[in-house]
Symmetry: D2
Subunit: 158 residues, 4 copies
Amino acid sequence: MAEAHGARGTSAPGREAPFVLKDFPHSLPISTRWADVDVYGHVNNVVYYSYFDTVVNEYLIARGVLDPQTSPIIGLVVETRCTYFRSLTFPAPVMAALRVAKLGSSSVRYDIALFQGDEEAVAQGHFVHVYVDRASQRPVPIPDPVRAVLQALVRTPA
Amino acid sequence: MAEAHGARGTSAPGREAPFVLKDFPHSLPISTRWADVDVYGHVNNVVYYSYFDTVVNEYLIARGVLDPQTSPIIGLVVETRCTYFRSLTFPAPVMAALRVAKLGSSSVRYDIALFQGDEEAVAQGHFVHVYVDRASQRPVPIPDPVRAVLQALVRTPA
Amino acid sequence: MAEAHGARGTSAPGREAPFVLKDFPHSLPISTRWADVDVYGHVNNVVYYSYFDTVVNEYLIARGVLDPQTSPIIGLVVETRCTYFRSLTFPAPVMAALRVAKLGSSSVRYDIALFQGDEEAVAQGHFVHVYVDRASQRPVPIPDPVRAVLQALVRTPA
Amino acid sequence: MAEAHGARGTSAPGREAPFVLKDFPHSLPISTRWADVDVYGHVNNVVYYSYFDTVVNEYLIARGVLDPQTSPIIGLVVETRCTYFRSLTFPAPVMAALRVAKLGSSSVRYDIALFQGDEEAVAQGHFVHVYVDRASQRPVPIPDPVRAVLQALVRTPA
């Protein structure tokens, strides 16, 4: 197992286990890009978060509960985290998988996992949005239509 | 026509005409990303070039004539250009189309056009690679296997 | 000279000459970033345009003639181009130099050159903004305060 | 306090306190870029990690213990995390501050904080490198010259 994961998978005995794709209710294929790759020949660690960002916002826009230019209530990112087990490479696409780990009154915590040709996550992490009034930037309750589409993604971590 | 193109299409009487998708022998769908979008709500002008870069290198890697980490002869970019007719938006994908406009002894000039839900290009431009020895960075003839896959993309501009 | 420029400088006898820093009325140091570098160990060609974009908009914002979130009239990019003579590397900063090559009624064409530790440009190109009404996206005359700060950058190419 | 921090600072009673600049032994000013800004008018959450990446690698390269193209032992990123208190804006630069929170036999955990015109962090997080043999990608002890420059950054969190 450690062997299969390469160095990134062997750093610590107590390290978290990779998520598996079937435990996620939603996923989105995302193209990798030449410019994603760094001098070591792998997708740069920063870019993983652009996949996180994309799977979350695509879900909200596609379901009609977010218009980035006009919505009066929007989600601001307050925390993100990623654990890297293996490397992603170009040009194969990445599958970004999404579920809601915790749905609060004004915030939502997503679990996100990235896959590339395997059922075990290459990397995984979380992403927390706090909903705010766009003008005042003050926290507000998650609007009902947003809550409904988030509710559909709620999974209790195994 | 100008109306259809919005402001970016009306800047000059003598402006070049948009390319059409059917005139390209190769194309690749590329996901847009949330972070591609700038404060004006459209994909930032810089990002168009990441699509250019991606369609070129994906073509070469997929056909087995480029291994970015080991190929002893590689293409260096010496010139790029893009004309923007309209805006690209997230989250719809972009279709990046590729052809070879000029195939020289050590350089290749690609035409690239970007489409998003229409047969007329949203933006288009060119991208010139000069082949060099990886170690010395000096120009060398395009290797035969590379030349063969480039030859397949040669189209004479209409 | 060709030697000094490496492969990117030797691609064609008729290639344009590098600009020199002293011919530019404005310049801005810009940090390079680890993620700018691609698998070949140099700043990726796409990233050069993020330096272009930055030197233009920083100039306009710093002089008080652009507020990206509220200005009712904004510049849309309709054309960009870059010629690459040599490679940029991380972590040294880039000096981005700016002048106005052509100031029209509703559009402005900037010349931009990038330097890294030398008086001769590593790369150079142009960047064309068309001014539009933000709501309608239709071309409008460049507002007088913008025109005044652009006028200060006008240089006739040597 | 909440007022000073805006919405991102008020999400939870138990939220961690912002770091202060004087508690960091090393810092690096990094330019913001136009393309860093997203549709909400602030630096996109992904980009914060490109500042993290940059302050770490610049430190190692500037001290002569990393050559990204040739070093036989390199650091691979296995975990990153960021907490966002407030928003960063363009065009002011960011000050990225660095210290070592934990120095293990083959891994190092950095604390990183980002500042923009204030002594309190706008955002902060951590970044973990595992040192590996570049060819085999297997973990190895941190080389002595690297360890020496890391030791100089060790601070016990207050």
